[in-house]
Symmetry: C2
Subunit: 568 residues, 2 copies
């Protein structure tokens, strides 16, 4: 047996000496602080962390789950691209201007960025291999570090400047094929998140800066989440609020103050006046949908005054008199509502048109689902952990990635891209599963499944440890000479290790088990009824809140652990 | 069965369509070109590569071997540090001035480099956990990307600007403990390189810019290597030429032109005149050893004139007259040799001293080994693939990493560091093992151990493939619809896959095996004698040069493959 606790949990060297954290202490810490205090990661600079052995084990387990599913169900091949991405590529897609790129020069003065995502690189790379329809479909993925110079990095792993990401990219012959691949990848994501054993929802989403036509997000529902997803009680449609269409129970009933937002159509010859209730938030995606995309969305972030100036520019009074104006009315507004003044002073009403019955604002819980137009929406806070996109030709076009069809024609590839925040998942899972005793990992991602504690290193501890290690690689022994047995058990629970095995002279040849992770009663109750007597297996009826206790003869320790793990 | 060759070897999409490389074609390519043509990597920019599926499989196999040995024998825990390392740390050790650092600023103007190595970071990080002698010994390692802005990146993976490195760092209580750890790590390295199944030598080496007192290098001996190692026929001592002490068979016999190199002692009050044969190369490490380190090695790269100016500076003629001068004579020089003029015009010979019988120049093959002073040295070109250092307190001192001893005293940690060039190993192994047919991977690092080829996808191919895939994850099926059977077999051999299984209607239910990797005859000859008849196993006596052929009944294919793999 190797000496020293230091082999497995670096932080113990420090944490249990000087901090002496107890249950109440842990309760007060943020999840990010917990991960740091318990030796999973250590922040080096704002938004940057060093991964310590325990954290790295959890991270690697998540990586392994993702890798297997991506290859088996996602039919993706693994690649690993250079992190240094040359400026020219990013200029081709107008993304070099992104202020969140970490940029650097090499000694010859060439400009690079640290890749925050790889559409540019992968499209170029695959373009050099794809020539025929026989080469398609083709999906590649990688799991590697990415960089984003967040102005306000926060939540540590939840939004870091350096993070581990799984990014995948697909290439298909036709839009239909690409949508099939997109759907298959969403099924693969479902399997990945099921493997992690953390409840999740997938929601239709806005494709944002990545672009493209179809997009889904994967979320953990949690009250601390920064996103909001809306789920319909009736049709089960789930959407990010950014993308969620809703209607009020009764239209045209809002009689309060009305806000207006000015916009221009794509040709910039028509003024759009978007009216909506002052107590609601305008939703730009819904505006685009209502106007069938004929909105200049580059003006989404400029002020009303600037929009009007742009509209007035180069027009004399006569021109303005004959201006084309569309008034777009959120369906919640009553004609008796308190509308703001109209921005033009002289105009011909006959040039105006009006669009009614559209929904322009962020959905709210209790409103009617825009998908089924029947049932009510339920809103939840959530943490985003994955995102899938059908991209179309957004990247194959600028990089001219074509293939020869069966009919010997040249055609642009249809692409998709698919991300999972791997390091973010560590923090998100910790956040969603933790309790007042500290972390509480699902079996699949716990750094170890089983810890073994004894008052000190002796023959009994060694016998149990050796037997378990020969059986499973998931064994962690707390051999810290600086702490007593009670602290060792508490540590195991604080760390969130699912099962803690306690070895002591008093009960020998029986050992105690304390179970920290939630587990069902399906298998183990049956098995205990069957084998309880022969295995020397008893279970306290009086149980502490968060910990369930079992006792078993040492010869049947593995049998009982096996049964309990099956129920997790 | 999944469709499409594209799943496993991207490059085939392109390579075998347009290039149609044959044996002679491959012979002419550099190993780096081979790796690129055969779809292992693709260069993105000078010194930067993208890893493709085949290359990544080989890389990951090497990583797995290293990881297992580092944990089991090296007793090291895995960590993963941030790549962005802040300027202040590098200034503490005067290494920020390194012109090969990739430097960048974040949006707040803070300076970072992309870590080329992690002594600064790891010492700081571990310093926050180490407090007591009970925390030691402690060794951590990581396998991750590193960056070095090489002025002339070349050989692709052999000297890239972005590379994968295994770096480990040890912390001990005493120099004795640290040397024990250093020795244990060297044993671990021996096991790692044995696992890779490529012949290697370990050589005493110069510790260079890393600093420290003991250092070993690991090399693959190969005529294309840029390093030179010298091995003694007698005492088996192996050294890098940088560190190799040698003597001529007869001293004081060189009568030709003599070169001189001026230097100063550390106090800069004594002029050292280093004399050596003009046809040899001065070795600065040997000079340091000869002078018992009393040499100002910061002057190693300045001209003789500059050294003399420094020595003259602030001295009047009288001072110079009484100058202290040491003449250091390489033991090869005869007094009759043609010495250059003495640099001082007026001097007192009585202030001179002379050091004879030292060896100041790079060793050459055939000279006497300086370690045993008996046997002759043999010189070989080699490729460096690993390096171990005992560092002492070089980093624990500037970062003040102390622990409390058993006697309750504060003491600085003793450190070591240990590197392996992981991506470099891919190129080095390829280089050392390739032949005129292309790559020829050792079993342990081949992207796949077994390829299966058939004229086209049919039931027979499917039966064999499914049976093999259920038995081993090491199966690659070339399903490229664009090439015929001959090309598929050739591809397997070009790629260096150890065993190629050929399925065809003609021989069915027998299948052919072509063995590409070298294998011994120990097991298989015995097994064939025992089971040849029942297994339907025959082996051509007439064999092509580089390929050995077997034939076996399909029901015993796995048995025969198993036997042959055992012999590899």
């Amino acid at each position: 047996m190797r000496a020293g606790f230091a082999r497995t949990g670096l932080r113990y060297v420090h944490l249990y000496q000087s901090k002496n954290l107890d249950k109440n202490g842990l309760k007060l810490h943020s999840t990010q602080d917990l991960l740091q205090l318990l030796g999973f990661v250590k922040q080096s600079k704002s938004g940057l962390v060093h991964w310590l052995p325990l954290g790295l084990r959890t991270l690697n387990k998540i990586k392994t789950i993702i890798k297997r599913r991506m290859e088996d169900q996602g039919r993706a091949q693994e690649v690993s691209l250079s992190l240094l991405s040359p400026k020219a590529l990013w200029e081709s897609t107008d993304r070099w201007i992104n202020s969140e790129l970490f940029k650097l020069k090499d000694s010859k003065g060439s400009d690079f960025c640290l890749a925050p995502t790889c559409e540019e690189e992968i499209t170029t790379l695959m373009g050099s291999y794809i020539s025929s329809y026989k080469d398609l479909p083709l999906t590649v993925y990688q799991i590697g570090r990415k960089y984003r110079d967040e102005k306000r990095p926060r939540g540590g792993l939840l939004r870091g400047r350096e993070f581990l990401m799984k990014d995948a990219y697909s290439f298909d012959q036709t839009p239909q094929d690409a949508v099939t691949t997109f759907e298959n990848m969403n099924k693969t994501y479902d399997l990945i998140f099921k493997d992690l054993k953390v409840p999740f929802v997938s929601a239709w989403a806005d494709s944002g800066a990545i672009g493209g036509d179809l997009s889904k997000e994967y979320h953990f529902v949690h009250e601390t989440g920064e996103d909001i997803v809306l789920e319909c009680n009736g049709c089960s449609n789930v959407s990010n609020v950014e993308k969620c269409l809703s209607y009020p129970h009764e239209t045209n009933t809002y009689t309060g103050d009305v806000s207006v937002r000015y916009a221009l159509n794509v040709a910039r010859d028509t003024l759009l006046c978007l009216y909506y209730p002052k107590n609601r938030t305008l939703n730009w995606n819904l505006v685009l949908a209502a106007m069938e995309k004929d909105v200049d969305s580059s003006l989404a972030d400029v002020s009303n005054e600037t929009v009007l100036q742009l509209f007035h520019a180069g027009k004399n009074e006569d021109d303005l008199m004959f201006s084309s104006v569309v008034r777009v009315m959120d369906c919640r507004l009553s004609s008796k509502a308190n509308f703001p003044d109209f921005p033009l002073t002289q105009y011909l009403k006959s040039n105006f048109s009006q669009l009614d019955d559209v929904s322009l604002v962020d959905a709210e819980e209790g409103e009617i689902c825009g998908a089924c137009e029947e049932a009510e929406l339920k809103a939840s806070n959530s943490i985003e952990v994955g995102h899938t996109f059908y991209l179309g030709q957004k990247y194959s076009k600028p990089f001219n990635v074509k293939f020869t069809t069966r009919d010997n024609k040249e055609q642009l590839c249809e692409m998709g891209c698919y991300g999972i925040g791997v390091s973010r998942l560590v923090a998100a899972i910790a956040q969603v599963t933790r309790d007042e005793m500290g972390l509480r990992w699902p079996k699949a991602v716990a750094p170890y499944q089983i810890s073994v504690c004894g008052a000190k290193s002796d023959e009994l501890l060694e016998e149990v440890t050796n037997a378990l290690k020969a059986w499973s690689p998931e064994i962690w022994v707390n051999e810290d000479p600086k702490v007593n047995l009670g602290r060792k058990i508490a540590t195991s629970h604080n760390l969130g290790i699912p099962i803690c095995v306690i070895v002591g002279k008093k009960q020998w040849p029986y050992v105690n088990l304390e179970v920290r992770a939630p587990y069902m009663t399906e298998t183990w109750l049956t098995k205990q009824a069957e084998n309880g007597e022969t295995w020397g297996w008893t279970c306290d009826t009086e149980q502490r809140d968060l910990i369930k206790k079992h006792r078993v003869h040492k010869n049947h320790l593995k049998d009982v652990i096996d049964v309990i793990l099956t129920d997790m």
